[in-house]
């Protein structure tokens, strides 16, 4: 149990270091010489975060960009070779296609389910419990979620009894289950992984959109009700236009999350059977195949894919500011 004690003492070291850093920074800021106190205090307050971000985020990101133009151990320049590899290699084209499928389906499904659920349970009895049920997966790791759903998809040959819920349900509905293990069948398996993502993120969409729905001025809702608007009209003419900005934010946030999906693929299929996506392939190329050039190129591709979303978000922010 030596090991055990080692680790706990390491935790102690971490906490002590934290207290030390807090004490030191506040003490230095307090004792700074009067003449340049303001400047020094700014330095002590902004310095740690600034330094960490520059050294740990900005510099590495630029270096990754440079690596994407070098060979596998970064010893030689190769120009655009890594990008050519990315856009011509058949495996990687499948990876890009899969990422496209994810981005096309996961955010739309999660946002739609979250929005509908938020509307359905709004001001109903048991709303709090209903919300918690959908929101709960947010607390579960993608690894945990992957295992949960792997178990749902678990397939046995039709002669044995099924232990996975989905094959069993299919059996009840009369399917003869001759397709074999579901996670091995491309492209079905990619959609099965997307389900896990939707399962995790729908709760996020629901919570944010539910807050937006509650913020709709009640006089508008009352007026529409007095005029006899049916639920369908209510949704398209009142609810959806009112929560549109929140829907966009939710959609974009989920899209960014989807682009970076790694854990689900790693847990459920290890990227085999044509299920890999850019974020997973980056890890695989860089740290399993030890090819930094390919890994860096995929990382840059990921960054480029995120960029338009950010541009859109900033323009939205600016528009909202102007309205105000």
């Amino acid at each position: 149990m030596d090991d055990w004690q080692n680790k706990i003492s390491m935790l102690g070291v971490g906490i002590a270091a934290f207290l030390g850093v807090v004490g030191l920074i506040l003490l230095l800021a307090d004792r700074a010489p009067k003449s340049m106190r303001e400047r020094l205090q700014l330095l002590f307050f902004m310095g740690p975060a600034g330094l960490l971000l520059l050294v740990g985020l900005v510099y590495p990101a630029l270096k990754t960009l440079v690596y994407s133009f070098k060979n596998s151990d970064s010893s030689r320049w190769v120009g655009l070779e890594n990008y050519r590899w990315m856009l011509t290699q058949e495996d990687i084209l499948i990876v890009l296609r899969n990422t496209g499928i994810w981005v096309l389906f996961a955010p739309l499904a999660a946002t739609t389910i979250g929005l509908l659920y938020a509307i359905l349970i709004d001001r109903k009895r048991g709303e709090v419990v209903a919300k918690t049920l959908l929101f709960m997966p947010m607390a579960i790791s993608f690894v945990g979620a992957g295992i949960i759903w792997k178990f749902v998809y678990e397939y046995r040959s039709p002669r044995k009894g099924q232990i996975g819920l989905l094959p069993q349900v299919m059996k009840w509905f009369g399917s003869d289950l001759d397709g074999g293990a579901m996670l091995l069948n491309a492209p079905l398996n990619t959609f099965l992984l997307i389900v896990v993502m939707v399962w995790t993120w729908a709760g996020f969409a629901m919570v944010v959109l539910s807050a937006a729905i509650k913020a709709i001025p009640s006089d508008i809702v009352e007026a529409a009700k007095l005029d006899g608007a049916n639920p369908w009209q209510m949704f398209w003419r009142i609810t959806l236009p009112s929560v549109r900005p929140s829907v966009i934010v939710v959609f974009m946030t989920i899209t960014i999350g989807v682009l970076k999906v790694f854990d689900i693929v790693r847990t459920m299929t290890q990227g085999f059977h044509e299920t890999s996506v850019v974020a997973y392939e980056m890890y695989f190329q860089a740290f399993q195949s030890n090819d930094y050039g390919h890994g860096a190129a995929l990382a840059v591709a990921l960054f480029v894919l995120v960029l338009p979303i950010v541009g859109f978000q900033i323009s939205q922010m600016r528009r909202q500011r102007e309205v105000r």
Binding site: K7, I8, M10, L11, G14, V21, L26, A29, D30, R37, M46, P48, G50, L52, G56, L57, V58, P60, A61, I113, L120, A130, L134, M136, A139, I140, S141, V143, G146, I148, K150, F151, V152, K160, G161, I163, L165, W199, G203, A211, A223, A224, G228, A229, P231, R237, P241, K260, F262, D263, R266, T267, Y283, A286, G295, A296, A299, F303, V306, V310
Partner: protein, 309 residues
């Protein structure tokens, strides 16, 4: 506003002259029934997979392998055990207990450090006056979306050059998590901090207090709820993280987090459901408890625009 007038005009045309008729009322009740039913179905679909895994984790491994968990409560199949949990936590090959400790050692400092660094930086960005402040803030806002994949390779090289061995490698994981957390942390805390009433700070300045003092005695106590909501975020994020842990701590028992051990288990022993089910729940217990007891703060953080990818 225009949408309302459109609605009312159209609604008026279709509305029966003498108020809501019997038929409308019945239809209304039916729609409300259908709505509840749909919501119920969604809630069940969302809950069943987790429930199935939970039930299975208490079944003997033979039963998990041969019969569906939905039969667990039928008379012929009724048999529950905690063996899966003891095996997976303390058994010779399972050993998730060790990884559990690793996750704990990784998580606590990885929450503390960014919270403090973020808080003082957010203060500097909202209440200290200096040139270039707005640009720095926009820069940090933009950094939020840089995928961490962009930083992994050079950071790993940098950390390897420190030459840390064994449990000392925890330090690099803390550092990595702190760095990746800072943009979101600063952004969130700045949002809260900037909304504090300015008169408070002016009054304190007039009384001759300097920034260090104002931060400690005014700003910090007032943003405690914001600190809490960020800390919960970060806690869930770090505890549930796989990528950062895998790259910087590795998947081995000396420093690897619980998620890495589980992902490995799912990959190499995908059929040993007695381990996977119990293991998954061991990893889920802590975040679930934190989440359920502090949901309020978590949601407040979400609504303030906090989410990290």
């Amino acid at each position: 506003m225009s949408s309302v007038t459109v609605t009312s005009r159209r609604a008026r045309r279709t509305r029966p002259a003498a108020g809501p008729s019997m038929a409308t009322r019945v239809r209304k009740q039916l729609t409300s029934r259908t709505a509840s039913l749909v919501a119920l179905v969604v809630a069940v679909v969302w809950t069943l997979p987790t429930l199935g895994l939970l039930v299975s984790s208490f079944r003997p491994s033979v039963r998990i392998r041969t019969t569906g968990w939905w039969t667990a409560f039928s008379s012929g199949d009724l048999e529950f055990t905690t063996k899966n949990y003891t095996d997976v936590l303390f058994g010779e090959t399972g050993n998730l207990g060790e990884y559990f400790i690793n996750s704990l050692v990784i998580t606590v400092p990885s929450v503390l450090f960014p919270t403090f660094f973020g808080a003082i930086a957010a203060y500097a960005l909202s209440w200290m006056k200096w040139s270039g402040r707005d640009w720095v803030f926009i820069g940090i806002f933009a950094l939020q979306i840089v995928p961490i994949q962009m930083c992994l390779i050079p950071l790993l090289e940098m950390f390897s050059s420190f030459g840390l061995q064994g449990t000392d490698r925890f330090m690099t994981v803390w550092l990595a998590h702190t760095i990746f957390a800072l943009p979101l942390c600063i952004f969130l805390l700045h949002n809260f901090m900037a909304e504090l009433p300015g008169e408070l700070f002016e009054a304190a300045r007039v009384d001759g207090a300097d920034h260090s003092r104002i931060f400690r005695s005014i700003a910090l106590p007032l943003i405690v709820p914001a600190l809490a909501s960020f800390a919960i975020f970060q806690f869930l994020w770090v505890w549930n993280d796989l990528l950062v842990g895998l790259v910087f701590a590795g998947g081995t028992r000396d420093t690897g987090p619980l998620t890495a051990a589980l992902a490995e288990l799912a990959g190499t022993r995908g059929n040993q459901w007695q381990r996977l089910t119990a293991g998954a729940f061991v990893s889920m217990v802590v975040p679930m408890v934190v989440f359920l007891s502090l949901q309020r703060y978590f949601i407040r953080g979400l609504l303030a625009g906090g989410l990290k990818g």
